[in-house]
Amino acid sequence: MQNEGWKRSERVDGLSVEDRIDLACDRFEDQLRTGQTADLAAYLDACDAGERARLFVELVLVDWELRGHGESTKEIDWKQYLSRFPEFSEQLEEARFMHRSAASGDTLCDKPPSTSRRIGHFELLELIGAGAAGEVWRANDPRLRRTIAVKTPRAHHLSDDDLNRFLREGRAAAQLSHPRIIPVYEVGRDGNSVYIVSAYVDGHNLRDWLIRTRPTHHEAAELCRQLADALHHAHEQGVVHRDLKPSNVIMDAAGQPHITDFGLAKWADDGRTMTLDGEMLGTPAYMSPEQASGHASLADRRTDVYALGVILYELLTGKCPFEGDPARVTHQIIHQEPSPPRGILRMIPRDLETICLKALQKSPEKRYRTAQEMAVDLRRLLDGDSIIARRPSLLEKSWRRARQRPAFMAAVTLGIAALGAFGIATKLAHEKHALLGLQMVSLSTEPPEEARFAFAPLDDVSGEPLADQVVYAQGSSPVQVELKPGDYLVVAVLDDGRFHEVYRHVPNPKVEEPGPFNHSYWQQLGNGSIQLPVVAVPDHSVTKDMVLLEGTGSMGLPDGQIGSGLYADRRDYTEALYQRLYGRSPPDLRSIAHGPEHFVTVHCDEAIAIAEHAGKRLPSEVEYECAFAYMATERSANISAGNNGTGAAEAFLSSDVARWTTSRDARIPSLHAESAWVVASDYRIVRGGHLLVTEGVISIERNPNRIGERVAVPRSSVLPGLGFRCVRSISPRFIAN
């Protein structure tokens, strides 16, 4: 329908502001639609100064929508707008936000049902899910006046036998009554197809829920405990789910899980795993080994235990034990041990990993015998008791590994035959290292001094050192330590109290290449061990220009943070400092201005390297948080002392640029359907400015409160408004005896 017929602007006199803006937008849209060039600036000029900001947002939104570009083009558009209308940067952010929320389906919620349909006596209200094999509707039961869910599997060619079995199994499912199982009210037949009527739970399935929510370990354990309880109830009634997976778990508004499709999975399936005749389709990620090997008839309650193990694994690590193309996954489910969750994220509690791996055992006999046993172990873990499941011994692990790699076993056997006793011992020692994934590492100081070293692995997700997993080197430098590949905070302490905290990377030399910085470089020695870059421990004088943030306390933050206090730079790292440290000017990259007092714009790795060279380090965002909390304490102390001066924390926090931190914790939704999110390991958190600040667009006064602003930036980005400043622990965080 076209607009010609409309009598527009009947009342031109006394138009309100919103009417004027609306009409201007209409003209703008008309122009764009008729292929004319519409100059946004001209529209802005034509309107009253007070209405410009509002009009700008509306025009930009219309422009973006009509041009209908992909997201990447929008970024470019956005930047172009930004350079043309820097005075409207705030409005531009607003428009971007509104545009995103509109694109993310705000309009979906007001979507009415496309047609008025009925199944049985139920009025179908809204299609809430559709897959290859069927549809799910929110529906109204006019007799009982309640909202229900109706599932209509697109089952083809149902024989009478199938139909009888369907109705029988439906009746069995309808017997279940558990707060975490969505009750089935009835199953029935409508013409040629069947339908399942169950309670309607308003919420998202666990798969979608995981995209928005990141459960803690505690929450993951509690969620699985509830699911295990529910499974046990069903198993005791003789009903096995057989197809438990995140899309079959509905999370209600309170975050409580509800299992759906109990015992009806093969009828109600959304088509992604099995068809009626057992033929496999789509991802088999949650399938047990007995199902994957075609022995579906062997499926019993332990099959559900396995699937729950996969869900727990995914909640903990963000991905399934096996992912990829279905044929490969099926093969892996049958033949390959999953990588231990702690190999993916080291912060996962050991006991939780043990529970997860016990549920994932290939042989049903080795799994929890019942879901209840698993629920009990999860409960014990949540209560802080020791769990019943046992970790496999090293011997058992080697055996399993060997069984997976027959060639390796043959090599060991051949080796035994060929080598002398010493050779065998060396070979086995190496194999032990290989099995545990350990790497021999040597490290010393420059100039050579007798330093003691502690190695704290960094958590993959947060980037924080893991206080409970610190490895202390024997003796003093040069030291040799066996470490798992990964990133570490290395603490070097001398007898005279001098110390340094630096970052080092322990590689897996078979697959990694050394990087250009101290915290990414390494050298492989002839004996297979790794030499890390030396540590130069600074003098005590390194802190002379820094402010002291005394005993900020842990403020309810994780252990191992800055309990004892922190020295902090009072200014951003400047070109003058860089010149003094390196004897040359900083690389002229994207600074918008230059001069000795101008801050240095570098990417995160370079900032880490400069900080180390200066005898300092980059703060984590937790430390910024602590400093911010400390600022309040300082201010109230200053006020009571009648002191107007700037406190130490305020000096540290005040800046007109955004600053790098070492913190990661940047997760982004995964593009792959199999895992809900991925850790964006190449991003680092930047504090003290949003994207516009990092782009150098806005120059705001040096406001310490702006430290609350947080954005994730690719670690290799050099941005005109992004600098850094350094800190230094008061005392070494980890000291070897």
Binding site: W6, E65, D110, K111, P113, N140
Partner: protein, 211 residues
């Protein structure tokens, strides 16, 4: 209506139990409203079929929406519909007051408790007051009047068409494609309509208060 807040927002914030209650009320109210609307329609001359009449008949909108199954859920109703309903409710309370006063001949105003749906006049109507009672024929007449009056407040026919479509339960996307406008423009115009009607409602509430 809870003062200036939109009913939609208010509904969105209802807890499960409250929402159930609201839904039950609506489930009871809706068929009565539509029945009433149908019987009223039967009495009205066929002029409603006139395509030119954009404001049309709100009953026709109701029936169209109902036939398409768009009315079933409390949450599916846009602010515009609730605003229209609240406005009608205010007017009928006003009418009952005046009539009662006239009947008694002395200009005395009936105690508040005697009037259904009255107590919310200044504080905003509760959901129960809004749709708790079966619609009377008088109510339908007022609804129709209010519909025309509120539509008349709008700047042009395009805005009226959008308001009608929204009351019929169409989505923003559907209205946008019908009118060949961007969805952002529809959103912008809906907000304009909401603001105009909300101002009107607040004015009516104040007027009632001062009587």
């Amino acid at each position: 209506m809870p003062n200036q807040h939109s009913v939609s927002q208010w509904i969105a914030s209802l807890k499960a139990g409250e929402l159930d209650a609201a839904q039950k009320l609506w489930d009871r109210y809706r068929p009565r409203l539509i029945d009433r609307a149908r019987s009223e329609l039967a009495r009205v001359p066929k002029r409603v079929a006139d395509e030119e009449d954009v404001a049309q008949n709100v009953f026709l909108s109701l029936c169209c929406g109902a036939a398409a199954g768009r009315f079933s859920d409390v949450r599916n109703r846009d602010d515009l519909w609730w605003l229209l309903l609240a406005m009608t409710q205010q007017k009928s309370v006003d009418l009952i007051r005046r009539e009662t006063a006239q009947k008694r001949g002395g200009g005395r105003v009936q105690p508040e408790s005697a009037l259904a749906g009255d107590s919310g006049a200044s504080r905003g109507l509760s959901f129960d007051q809004l749709i708790g009672n079966a619609p009377t024929p008088e109510f339908i007449v007022i609804l129709e009047e209010e519909n025309r009056r509120l539509m008349g407040l709008l700047r042009d026919d395009q805005l009226r068409k959008i308001a009608v479509s929204r009351i019929e339960g169409y989505t923003v996307v559907e209205i946008a494609s019908e009118l060949a406008l961007s969805t952002r423009s529809i959103e912008r115009k809906l907000q304009l309509i909401r603001n105009a009607w909300t101002r009107e409602l607040i004015g009516a509430e104040r007027g009632l208060e001062t009587q």
